[in-house]
């Protein structure tokens, strides 16, 4: 039965057979070379020895439990979101937990309130990558919503200002914004006032990403029919109530796939900070490659980094898809 189907699908005529054979042999050859390299030729000691560096950067040894705790909380939270939608209380608490985990990260990494302070120059690796992503995402979502609403506002000043901001940010490359954040902001500030480099990066990312988010949300807003607003007005709701309770939930649901897209893009864009001297995941990889003991292990380190990025991004995509499904269910129910 299966054989018949395969024959019918892949070997129905000579051309098909040849193509199938070529593709199969290509797959086999590349798979064997890759697997052979992974298991026999590659020397993974560079990854094994530096594992704590890849995850936590040069965080003080005796305080490693702090980024460790934070990362495991994120992992638990991710799996809780994915696997446990049945209990009623879970969906209620999850959004709060998700929003609070970025400030929690700053607290756990930076110290204060009983924890010994750790300078941000010691933050690094995957922890810093996730911190940059989550903080920028959480800050840029409300800013993006405000900008999107502003762009549709009836007041010309607000509308023009929002459009100007969005268009300016979208016509400047991200790397230029990041350079601005890292090199020019400190020059403008008076000498005593110093904004930490990590916060500067978060500000730059937030300013940039919010412009894109605003456009995605605007797309969602436009998909909500005008009649919805009119219906709200007829019911005697305040314009703010109409926006928050009727328009935005529908708009965000429509915009969710592209918002996910932005979030994944943001995570990958944080690797640009390696050019600007932050030792996030890519930066720590490059620092480790400068260690004379591991010179020339480029391929191992970059393959490992790619795998880490893949895992994190896939997890994000899965969570987003889960969220979409749930929202669709809510809509139906």
């Amino acid at each position: 039965m299966i054989l018949k189907k395969i024959k019918q699908r892949a070997f129905s005529n000579i051309l098909d057979s040849i193509t199938t054979l070529i593709i199969i042999s290509f797959i086999i050859i590349s798979l064997t070379t890759i697997l052979k390299w992974i298991f026999f030729s590659a020397n993974w000691s560079v990854v094994k020895i530096n594992l704590p560096l890849f995850f936590f950067g040069s965080f003080p040894k005796d305080q490693l439990w702090r980024p460790g705790l934070w990362m495991s909380l994120i992992a638990i939270l991710s799996f809780a979101t994915l696997l446990a939608p049945r209990w009623k209380w879970v969906p209620k608490f999850l959004p709060i937990l998700w929003i609070s985990f970025a400030p929690l990260g700053i607290f756990l990494l930076g110290g204060g309130l009983g924890l010994s302070p750790v300078e941000s120059r010691n933050w690094g690796g995957l922890t810093l990558t996730i911190l940059l992503t989550s903080f920028s995402a959480i800050l840029s979502l409300p800013l993006g919503i405000v900008l999107a609403l502003g762009r549709q506002s009836e007041l010309p000043v607000i509308r023009k200002a929002s459009s100007l901001y969005i268009d300016t940010m979208r016509s400047v490359p991200l790397i230029a914004v990041l350079f601005f954040g890292q090199l020019l902001i400190p020059l403008f500030l008076p000498i005593g006032l110093e904004i930490n480099r990590v916060y500067r990066a978060i500000i730059a990312f937030t300013l940039f990403v919010s412009a894109y988010l605003a456009e995605d949300i605007r797309g969602g807003l436009q998909s909500v029919p005008k009649t919805q607003r009119e219906a709200g007005e007829v019911l005697g709701l305040h314009p703010l109530q109409i926006t928050c309770l009727i328009i935005l939930p529908q708009a965000l649901r429509v915009a969710l796939p592209s918002l996910t897209n932005q979030a994944v893009g943001l995570l990958q864009n944080t690797s640009l900070m390696a050019i600007l001297g932050l030792v996030e995941l890519l930066g720590i990889g490059r620092s480790i490659l400068a260690n004379p003991e591991f010179i020339g292990r480029y391929i191992e380190v970059y393959v490992w980094l790619a795998a880490l990025y893949w895992v994190v991004c896939t997890l994000m995509a899965l969570i987003a898809r889960h969220l979409e499904k749930q929202m669709a269910l809510e809509k139906r129910g």
């Binding site: 040894k61 400190p186 020059l187 050019i275 030792v279 620092s287 260690n291 004379p292 003991e293 020339g296």
Partner: protein
Amino acid sequence: MRRIFTGILTFSMLLTGCVNSSVGIQSRLELIKKRDSLICGVSGKIPGFSFLNSNGNYEGLDVDICKAFAAAFVGNSKKVQFRPLTAAERFTAIRTGEIDLLSRNTTFNLSRDSSKGNSLIFAPVVFHDGQGLMVKTSSKINKLEDLAKRSICVGSGTTTEQNINDAFEAKSLPYIPIKYQDLNQVVAGYLQGRCSAMTSDRSQLAAARSGFRNPKDHIILNDVLSKEPLAPASAGGDQLLSDAMRWVVFALFTAEEKGITQANINQQLQLAKNNPQMKPLRRFLGIEGDLGEKIGLPNDFVVKIIASTGNYGEIYNRHLGPNSKVPIPRGLNEIYNQGGLHFAPPFN
């Protein structure tokens, strides 16, 4: 509209004015002492000079120079915080006071030194880099002249390319340049045997070589085609800090010249204490006179430096010596009486 623009301009000028005027109020050295730790800008990505080891600590020649500064300024070589910086960031970081000083493979040149340029003050050169040539040991090539009519792999459109051309033209020798886009391709071309030699900065050649399968099969020739003096630097207009930095580096050189090492520093100290007639040694180690005080440091700053990092030769050998992972022949980096360029004025 125009008024707004002028307003913005004046405002930003005011702000930058604040930045410039508030630099000179207090010496950075006082600030370092008050903070009880030194913030040192390093690259963090250069083998042998500064890199992250597996324990998450920075290591290398530039890093040890920072440790020497910390030992002299705050009395403990461990009280130093390293901030990894890229080439683009380094001057902003020093101008804004994000770091106290820079120890990051920075080439000392006129425009960086001048007040109308980057307005830095450079400490003495700690590493004389320069463009070099690497060949296979089996090729029996020993000097530049042996490369006549041979092919040389070089990165295109760089000063490297220009320098090699100038060097051969000066000796009116013919050679065949094989050009590549970047250093990794140059290395690959050389390893595949496309050329008899490859050229780049000597420190980069050494780093590339340590990644080869058989590093011993390749040698770096003694010919140096360009000047790349790498020196630590601090912000301009702060004489107290720059004097202190200058004499810390000189102390490292002088200690090597006098044969004072990490191992024998205590012996030397005893020797100087017991022999009042050994004036120069007593002054150098701070038993007599007030040389340290004059530059805002404790009188025994030399003892603290040598006890924690060793002298210049020891630092060099630890990271770039023949038994290290990135061996670079000392050449110009010897002390002056060994034929190198490192020379310290007297401690008087």
